[in-house]
Amino acid sequence: MRNFFENKQLVFLVAATLVIAVMIGIFGASAGREKVNAAENAVGAAAAAGQSASSGMGGWFSNIFEYFGSVKALREENEQLKAANVELDKRVRDAQGLEEENAELRQMLDLAENEKKLELTAASVIAKDPSNWYSSFTINKGTNDGIQKNQPVLTANKELIGQVYRVGSSWAEVITILDPESGVGSMVERSKDIGILEGDSALRYQGQCRLGYLSRDTDIEPGDYVETSGLGGVYPKGLLIGKVLEVKEDNTTMSKYASVEPIVDMSKLSQVFVLKNHVDDIGRLSGEEETTTDNGKEDTDKKTENGEEEDEDKTSSSSSSSKSGASATSKPSSTSGSSNSRTTAKPSQNTSGGSSSGGNSSSSSSSGNSSSGSSSSGGNSSSSNSSNSSSSGGNSSSSNSSSSSSSGSSSSGNSSSGGSMAGDGSELRE
């Protein structure tokens, strides 16, 4: 025993081990903790400052490599884009005509303007997960900007990225849907069968996740789109997640599972949006939303003491709202991670329990960008109280992927698609 205490290195090792063991016991598993501890916050805040600058440098390096390897491809892409632009211009004009016609029809029908604001906060990705074990990233907004744990994180096109996992004062960590700790209540868009989308340690390297807990008679096929089901109380219903690549049967659990490729390319995210509304609030929407986007610099949303939000969006770049109950209107995306958009026809999910107006389409063209106009046709459906009542055939959403260019945090000229967010209040409240 005496020899033991004479060996200082051994004493240090044992003492350090004990201290760390106690620390692991206290802070070990962070899942479930509402707040980060002071040390985490300090490290995160200090690192965030340097990471903001460094992430730009990292992007610069990767851009250099990409530039030299892609000149030829860019030329070809340029030709294609020019051709596409002509087509899109035509569609925008068509859509504008439809929009005006729609407004007239709405007036005639005297449908109630039942709008709700989606309160989105724009944030920049400043760092990625330092380890190879998880799939997460850090954004430059924290509790000072009203970010809270578990808030959903989306692209500008309202495609799901993940959720807020840890929040510091000026930063927040977001886990993507690829992360093994992520779980999302999901639904096959075509058949409305539900399951749970989970991150998978092995599939993560292929940029895929796993849609599990599907019964054997689930109607799911490769190519189906998966969206949030609204169950679980974290994500609102109707956010597009990804596309089914492969369906397999799990003999041990007598169920099916599918590998799903997210719509969003998680490795190329630079700008994201945090949805600050509580899911219950969105759930009460009746099929139409208006999107409010903070750009962070001129954050003017104020919260009243009773929790209601008075939106006084003074930002010059506030998004223009569009109301489309049935089809997705596309817009110039400011999220570079957003990749392929749906091109197949999507049934309407206007299933609100109140007064809802479906099938309205609009397109807002933003300045400078050629937005792909969406075409939607008719199909104005009246509301129904039943959930998941698909309505109004013939809604086609032709949302092409749009150019992403803005490096700032504002999203000018966004036109939100209410249809994809059409929530069902009764379903959301479990």
């Binding site: 350090a16 802070f27 985490e40 490290v43 760092a127 990625k128 330092p130 190879n132 092995a202």
Partner: protein, 166 residues
Amino acid sequence: MQIVFYGIWLILLAVFQPTLVRELAIWGIAPNLFLCFIVMTGFFRGKTEGAVCGMIFGLVYDLMIGRMIGVSSLSYLYIGFAAGFLSERFFSGGKRLAGTVTVAAGTLAAALIYYLARLMVRGDIGFVTAIFRTAFPEAIYNAVVGFLLAFPMLWLMKLLRLKRIS
């Protein structure tokens, strides 16, 4: 001078690991500068500094990841100590190439400890994925980066007049 040396490196690693280094990922695997630095510190500065550096840098690394706080700290403590021990015992003052091999071995050891901890806490990862898909590629990548990292480390040590163990 030691504090300046480690302070500079801590800031550099904390800033570059989640940003610039992640951009260098190949097939989803990026090198771990923290681990490379800890092993090389043990190698050049001895087991005591290796252990202390491993514990502190590992703790910062844990806080940055924010999942299982303390696990990396504990494993890096022992890896830093072991690197210093090997250096003192077998390589007399730390040869760069020997340090590179130790970095690879340390990466595998750290990955194994992390895998076991995660298996106990969550059980959401398979052995094959953890070791063959994550640990081995990272070990190779770390070995290369560790070799390169030794140059600026030794340069700064020389600048600050910090001696290598002998």
